[in-house]
Amino acid sequence: MEITLILRGPLKRYADNKGSVTVPVGSEKTRLADIVNQLGIPASSISFIQVNGNKSDLEALVRGGEEVVVNPRVAGG
């Protein structure tokens, strides 16, 4: 099973500048924090995570088939 991982903004560089990658997840549910760690993205660079469009967090578990968006920190508006 796989999830679709979308990295926004400067975080794309953690996946060869691809905006969207598929990430295999094992037969057990996987913690998002583990997926993010594997790619080398520091938690401090992340503002928030979305799972299937809804705001979530790094402790969320995915089993496969989800679309996960990782948003960068943004200062200023």
Partner: protein, 584 residues
């Protein structure tokens, strides 16, 4: 020290210009930029001054970082009493004007009075001239800049368009075609003085002790602190990044803040803007280059920024990116603040659809949408009603509960019902509803702080307001999220004395209290620190924030806590003790 020590004072009534020494004591306590311009205005304006009268003053203020290679130091503060709100008003404009002014030998320009006929101000080092602008009056800012460039050559220019000439409360000042000092009617202050443009060229420089060590240090800081993940969103995407953030957290203004999610957001998000990108552009001394120069079909502009995509896009029910780009370009040329313009058009759309008053425009109506900037700037047709903004429209036609403004300034692109801290930020900002004094959405709605509680929000907003005030006074651009420790490190070199982070925090607090004192003197109290009824009583309909609102009781709790922590009484009046503590 990196001040020139000289202020240029221009009296448009008499036509006389003169140099005077920078007030060094004030510079020590307020640094420059936002803080120092507010101090000059507080001391020199009488309470009750009509913002559109010759008695108002327009101040251009640089800071100690200006003109050096300190990263993100290219901005200029422009301040006056606001025609839109009657409060103190300071704006921030990017590009290259600020360093050029410093190279010409000036820390600041103070513009007083009113010219008998349209003029523009030309500054070239010691040469200061008021030249006739009769041929320029009525022209857009873009044509004005082109003509001045043909006449004067390699100068940096700022100008107003018809909106400023016609004294609109949403008139802005434009520079280098696409940089703006946007909010509060700053362009109308220039218009009221018959001042069409200011052009500057400077041949000087800034002396830095041990320039090699300084350059090496700034380059290291640029690589290690500025060009990091935290800030490089500005390079990779620019502010359009925020469309997806707001949509997914349910705070994207949609159809005059009737909702917080826009079904067609993918047509106006960062990916959509990137598909139209021609070039990135940067201000002076900035490695982040947040600006996007875009072209789609016949429309091109440097932009659109998030605020424009939100207020002129989703807030108007417009998903046609080419139309938004063209609307943006028209606003830039006519010199309309896109936040206020988009908000005002959205309000007109809702009034029309509800049958309150027929402005002949509905949500998503691209054809009439594109006619609005010209009509509004020229006060023609329905533009004559829209030109005064939503508060005045509500007084004349109705719809007060959903006229989305605070103190007369239209609300920017974050719905407080999905980000309670933004509600407090809007209510307590010195110039009316503003997202630049504090932007707590960054760590709340877009972070891991609970957006739907009053707890901790006062402390959060105060901290950000004080940090931003000193940041915009030293002058660093908003988009470098630097610590006060880093600011202190850099200012220690520039000011040639030891600066600690704690001193900077105090300066920030002092600036915010002085701004509040200015407003107090003008009669503002707790009742003005309020939000539109829609925020308190109408639930958002769809998306992440479906069913949410910001209860008035919770807002009052946040506001009360804010006053308490600030050392103000329950009516928002600064205590004598706090004034003494901050040397106000």
């Amino acid at each position: 020290m990196t001040y020139t020590g000289t202020v240029l004072r221009v009296n448009l009534s008499t036509g006389k210009t003169a140099k005077e020494p920078l007030n060094k004591e004030w510079a020590r306590n307020y640094l420059g930029g936002k803080g120092l311009s507010i101090k000059y205005l507080y001391e020199e304006l009488k309470a009750g001054t009509d913002p559109l009268s010759p008695e108002n003053k327009l101040i251009l203020m640089t800071g100690p970082t200006t003109g050096t290679i300190v990263p993100n130091s290219g901005k200029l503060a422009i301040a006056a009493k606001s025609p839109a709100t009657g409060t103190i008003l300071d704006c921030s404009i990017g590009g290259h004007f600020a360093p050029e002014l410093k190279y010409a030998g000036y820390d600041a320009v103070i513009i007083e009075g009113k010219a008998k006929a349209p003029v523009y101000l030309f500054i070239e080092d010691d040469l200061v001239e008021l030249r006739s602008a009769r041929e320029l009056w009525g022209k857009g800012a873009h044509e004005t800049e082109h003509i001045i460039a043909e006449t004067l050559g390699d100068v940096i220019t700022m100008a107003i368009g018809p909106a400023g000439e016609n004294l609109l409360p949403m008139a802005c000042i434009s520079s280098e075609l696409y940089r703006q000092a946007g909010r509060g009617g700053i362009g109308a202050v220039m218009g009221s003085k018959n001042l069409k443009a200011i052009a500057v060229w400077g041949s000087g420089g800034i002396e830095i002790p041990n320039i090699r060590k300084f350059s090496a240090a700034m380059n290291k800081i640029k690589r290690e602190d500025t060009m990091t993940d935290d800030n490089m969103w500005a390079y990779s995407d620019g502010t359009p990044m925020i469309v997806d953030l707001s949509q997914s957290t349910g705070i994207l203004p949609t159809r005059n803040f009737q909702d917080g999610a826009f079904p067609e957001y993918k047509k106006i998000n960062s990916e959509a803007v990137k598909n139209t990108l021609k070039a990135k552009k940067a201000c002076f001394a900035c490695p982040l280059a947040c600006s996007n120069y875009v072209k789609k079909g016949q429309a091109e502009v440097e932009g659109p920024e998030y605020e424009t995509l939100a207020l002129c896009g989703s807030n108007c029910g417009i998903s046609d990116l080419e139309a938004i780009i063209e609307f943006n370009r028209l606003c830039d040329d006519f010199c309309l603040d896109t936040i206020s313009a988009g908000n005002t058009v959205g309000f007109a759309m809702e009034l029309t659809e509800k049958g309150v008053y027929d402005f002949g425009i509905s949500f998503g109506d691209v054809d009439n949408f594109l006619k609005m900037p010209g009509l509004i700037a020229r006060r023609e047709g329905v533009g004559a009603d829209l030109a005064e903004g939503v508060r005045a429209m509500a007084e004349k036609f109705g719809g007060k509960n959903y006229a989305m403004q605070v103190k007369g300034l239209e609300i920017p692109g974050y719905d407080p019902r999905g980000s309670w801290s933004m509600g407090l930020a809007y209510g307590t900002a010195d110039r009316g509803a503003c997202h630049m004094r504090a932007w707590p959405a960054a760590v709340e709605a877009f972070g891991d702080i609970d957006p739907f509680t009053a707890e901790g929000k006062a402390e959060l907003v105060i901290g950000m307001q004080d940090d931003n005030s000193v940041k915009f006074s030293a002058i660093f651009c908003d988009f470098w999220a630097l610590s006060t420790e880093r600011m202190a490190e850099i200012l220690t070199v520039l000011l040639e004395r030891k600066i600690e982070a704690a001193e900077l925090t105090t300066i920030g607090e002092r600036i915010n209290n002085l701004a509040r004192l200015f407003n107090e003197r003008e009669g503002f109290t707790r009742k003005d620190d309020d939000l539109p009824d829609r925020i308190f009583n109408e639930k958002l309909a769809t998306g992440f924030t479906a069913g949410k609102l910001l209860p008035k009781d919770d807002y009052e709790i946040m506001l009360g806590e804010y006053y308490r922590l600030r050392g103000w009484d329950e009516n928002g009046i600064i205590s004598d003790q706090k004034k003494k503590e901050l040397q106000l």
